[in-house]
Symmetry: D2
Subunit: 350 residues, 4 copies
């Protein structure tokens, strides 16, 4: 297989590291450039001794120069903070690269919403218009043709995959939905902060940003498209003392007394082309370790007969399916590869 | 202070261990007997080397003999499995002891409900009638006078304390309430099972018994009494890779557009005599480590303006407030002691 | 590539699960049979929902029948307890299969040592004679030709790789060596025991079997061969609250005041054909997460000038390099494949 | 009991928090002042919501003013970084306070050693001369009379208590001793650093500062005094993914073939006045959770017959016995109180 050169722009965070891990053995991509403002000049294995002796270990990290990078690399993975990403994406696009942006900068179609939730004006609205939301199960064709893919957030990946088919098929009401999500600590990033020190997280559990997390409008945007209604969601994130994984417990009101097995069938049908969405059988609820290091999204269904509610439990790996693995999946589609090329490993368990 | 003799019946589980930990330095109680069918004849410190060199370490574990125990001990803490507890409680009561039962056997006032949820007939209905539900914030006087206290379950302690005042004062609707709870693994007990091995729990997260957990009717019973309505609750337990702690995220629909500060005020008023229920100020959400090893129940409030929902976050230590510490609090009341005698330690953090 | 059929005999433990994980995407092997006495008749994904939707998920677990298995599978991975393994290995060999035994049954060349340490007579001494110790860096050719490979223990893999070259090249003394090892809890297996429950391991640390662990004679056997002396080692295992990984801190007395860089050079030379042994540069000490899910063995060297001691720190993944991955590496050699075929993934971090 | 006023100077780190936890319910001390440069003006419970509703929660944090503090407080606990501590200690002493310094500034009797290991000149050598090393089991009388107590480091507390009696009584050789120590992550402090983020520590294990840790000269100083020889020790610290606890595995060479039971007897004799040093019986090895939140130092002994070595395993809680609890014990002695006043809680387990 003739490999395509790709670039990883921003490599010091967990999503950058995860991109390197995946690309390191990907049969269709070669890492042509790795850039970082703070680490330029060092070999990748100096930053990450864990990469010593691997194919990518000796790659030299360079300063991010769109012109140079675009010369060598067809696809650029942007793993830099929101705000910074929008200008860099534009610069790479201007040089002719195709971009998968892992930040939030191109996820919200309405720049007003972006300004409201992220507290800054969107300076690249012309590029925003051409961005495609990179959830392969929903936008497969658009992604394949896109020059700019907005890679979904981790929580939205988990919640949208759980709710989209049911809203699309009108199995449950669009009103009153709650997504109570629990995430591993890698979702908080690799910047040194007291709040994510080991001793502040281990052997404890907490909620945060209830009703005000920035991933809320992203979920509402996509789920509103599914339901054809302007939706409002209660989204409650929590921090779990574990490295990876998101479990979302979603509460919905069924439209009619449909059997749970019918719901499973409808979901299986909706996701029949996805190699990754797994519908758990009756009596089985997913666990985050079952998806560790993979692209799987495991969905479990419980009909609480006493309250009439349907509970959908969704598990993903926030760094792989919720960020870097999904970015590579999008690059696969953009390259005409099989969707799961290089993304078919079984979960690492325990 | 003249100490009262108490007995710990069943000591091999986590609640038994926690009782010993608390009673070991309690100024008002002396451990007069520790019993265990499987460990009779050994010293406590042989079972639990952690107790060596403490006041209780050399206590000899005996076979549970109600007659002998009752002769020495005024109050008996029963830390044996449900089903076994009802007969033992009756035996101790018959001998003139007062009993704090940590099992589920006397929590449900309706023996039919007990049969439905626990799958066995209640064989001690005459005793069930005299049992008092041991939540000190609600049944303080009744507990003081009781001979048989049904110590609340861990999840119910967390959820009832979060919702009771609001239902009593009709701040929110009794319908449609969801309690999404997350518990440390000690709640699953100390019996060897594959599912609670370190490598099956660590670095992972899962839901279980959604809509079917046995603590559901206990919550509904007490909350129905608060609201004056026959309530149905969605209760969703989850397992957290931590030792202790329960965090419950409770979703309720407000009756009117009451200010969150008003709600806090109402809760502060309701709990004004409790040394342990702490109402977090605006912007602060509780964490389980803040209550580790204590009787505190921390409550945080968020009004999600976009959906109109009130979210109440409740944190307790499942072994202390949710089991053994609460049992000792009940024994304090039964003995005419200050409620928090021996229960005033600050949380161990980190 | 024409794939060879292999069998996994014993699949309910962590090493069985890890074999499935690795073989599931191995380009040279097809899982032809999976057997388990207790789980025969079920699909693999019923046992391990994490395997749903993977290539191996729908494989039916069968009862272990050597005749049937040998008909289909050239190589058999034995992941059953010691004691049981020796007879099963013999049965598969009699049917013409080649066997990689993950138990301890064929590791000790001296059946007397086996009897001493494992407390039972070795009933298959004729097969013991033909067994090859499966450490690829040392016995590559013999493994390639073997019909019976004794897959090394996890601790021995870690310690032997750390010490073998230095003893062989007489860089340090063979006397007085200490290996202070720390292992993740998966090394204790998946059998339900109180001592490895989450709440008995998490947020704690302990030593066990000091001076008496069964892996001691295995290390001594191989290191004695390296040094040409009958060696005695102090081996101290400890239990770490983590899933995977072994870190061994080895203390040796240098023969002369050789520079640490010379030692590194000697080790690099010794391991020049190994894709996996990584010699950390000056100032870098390995961490278990750097090898998670991989075959790497990371070695760090510190010369303590004040005491004259050399400290060698060795990290492996106990389930992959210390068990199932190494078994697949051995099967690669037995099949004439590249040593690292299907074993070249980068570590999953965090 | 008439309580003495004490001050906690420096409260934002883990040792400051632990001091507050212990003092909060101490029957002999009242917290008269809490100071912090960065947090002056806030209530303690704003910094640490976990302290809400406790006796100390509403204490106002003030700027550290020795004159003001000394007016109210007889004893000052200094919980500020080394380097800063020496001048503050001098200032408080000048005002007539007695000082327990939790930093390293007054632990090394030789200012040259201090300069070598800490990289700065000791500017308060006149005060250094009067400092007493605050290990109650060894310096009980001197501590009682001291105005300046140098509270021992966490690792040294663990290692000195393990080795002192054996060296004093010449049970083993002073040469060639190794202390392989493993510490919970709270030992690394509460300053935000990438290396101690949850995702850099959890589910992993590493060694650090091998042969070069600053606690080495402190151990050597005290153990040399015990043995009457100028000792050199191999000290190897490791980082454990847990909050609290240190386990040190110490390797020594016995002088003669003394029975392990004799060694236990000698240790019991040496520590007969200590309420906290617990000698584990034959076959029992200590675990860090057995000492969580306490002053216990648990010692286990194994004679490795095959190598002739004695292995001593020592467990303490690094924040309580290894820092703040020990500081309070020293203040107890300085106040003429019982050594274990307010320090007799049983371990929190699990």
């Amino acid at each position: 297989m003739q490999k395509k050169n790709v670039a990883v722009v921003g490599v010091t965070g967990y999503t950058g590291m995860e991109l390197i891990r995946i690309l390191n053995v990907h049969p269709g991509f070669e890492i042509g450039a790795v850039t970082s403002r703070s680490e330029a000049g060092r070999a990748l294995q100096e930053l990450f001794p864990a990469m010593q002796g691997t194919r990518s270990g000796s790659i030299a990290v360079t300063f991010p120069d769109p012109e140079l990078v675009a010369r060598d690399c067809e696809i650029v993975f942007l793993a830099v903070p929101h705000g910074a990403a929008m200008d860099m994406a534009a610069a790479f696009l201007d040089q002719g690269s195709r971009v998968v942006d892992l930040s939030a900068d191109f996820r919200l179609r309405d720049p007003g919403e972006y300004a409201t939730w992220y507290g800054l004006e969107h300076g690249r609205q012309e590029r925003l218009k051409e961005a495609v939301y990179g959830l392969p199960e929903i936008y497969r064709e658009q992604i394949a043709a896109a020059n700019l893919v907005a890679n979904p957030g981790c929580y939205p990946s988990s919640v949208i995959l759980a709710l989209y088919p049911g809203l699309k098929k009108e199995l449950f009401h669009a009103e009153g939905i709650i997504a109570d999500s629990k995430s591993g600590t890698s979702g908080a990033g690799r910047v040194a902060k007291t709040g994510t020190l080991f001793c502040e997280v281990a052997d404890s559990f907490r909620a945060y940003s209830l009703g005000s997390h920035r991933h809320t409008p992203e979920m509402e945007q996509e789920l509103s498209l599914a339901s054809g209604r302007d939706m409002r969601l209660s989204f409650s994130p929590h921090l779990v003392p574990m490295n990876r994984g998101i479990l979302s417990t979603c509460y919905v009101d069924l439209r009619s007394s449909i059997q749970t097995e019918e719901i499973r069938k409808a979901y299986r049908e909706f996701y029949k082309d996805s190699p990754w969405v797994r519908i758990m059988p009756e009596g089985v609820l997913p666990e985050t370790r079952w998806v560790r290091g993979t692209m799987f999204c495991d969905l479990g269904f419980v009909h609480d007969q006493r309250t009439g509610r349907l509970i959908i439990v969704s598990c993903i790996d926030n760094l792989c399916r919720g960020a870097s693995g999904q970015a590579v999946a999008n690059a696969n589609l953009m390259s005409g590869y099989d969707l799961d090329l290089g993304l078919d490993a079984a979960p690492l368990m325990p």
